[in-house]
Symmetry: C2
Subunit: 107 residues, 2 copies
Amino acid sequence: MTYAEVFTALADPTRRSILEALRDRPRTVGELAAEQPVSRPAVSQHLRVLELASLVTAEPQGNRRLYSVKREGLDELRQYLESFWSETLSAYGAEIARRVGGGNTKS
Amino acid sequence: MTYAEVFTALADPTRRSILEALRDRPRTVGELAAEQPVSRPAVSQHLRVLELASLVTAEPQGNRRLYSVKREGLDELRQYLESFWSETLSAYGAEIARRVGGGNTKS
DNA sequence: CATTAAGGTAAGTAAATACTTACCCACTAT
DNA sequence: ATAGTGGGTAAGTATTTACTTACCTTAATG
């Protein structure tokens, strides 16, 4: 899993909607599909993408599969953002702080 | 600008590559295009998307436009991640901590 | 002024992707 | 065993989207 897959996964509104539904409580595929404006197979396909991005996990329960959110994917993303920003700072240095700080205080 | 646009913007590898180039130092469109495997107009189009997502800003300098990274977009994203996770926790509660903490202890 | 350089926009194309229906397999229960 | 339910997968379609070339406008330079 890489942050690339996480970005891809979260770029789609339906997938975000599914993930936000799971945020409240774990759900089965059928439950999720009932809430979404798309077909059940579509939801299955979205869940596969979310799973590959480590944003959800499935737990088989007899006949059904219970999906819940997983932390890894979001962690990966947070990590990317952090390192991105810190590298920006170390490159631009005080320059950027002045420029984007929210108004030029130096002038 | 919403987090949705930020996710969309960062989902594309070329756009991430452009943004990562800008992370080192501000650059003109021509410079960026020279580094990327795509044409200059393509870069222009990507820059528009990045700008709409508040990930970059352009500063006209005579004939050229100097692009640099902007904090807003990434901030929006960080905020989304934070609130997402905190809402997950308040819903799942200790449940999730146990479940994803690194193995099911209950079974 | 005429020319060159920089870069945004338009229009069209090709590739990716989000959907659909149809099908199939695994469990549950009669 | 046989329905019935839940859900993954296949195959095809339609929409998005990332790219291209061609064009146009603005700024620097002879």
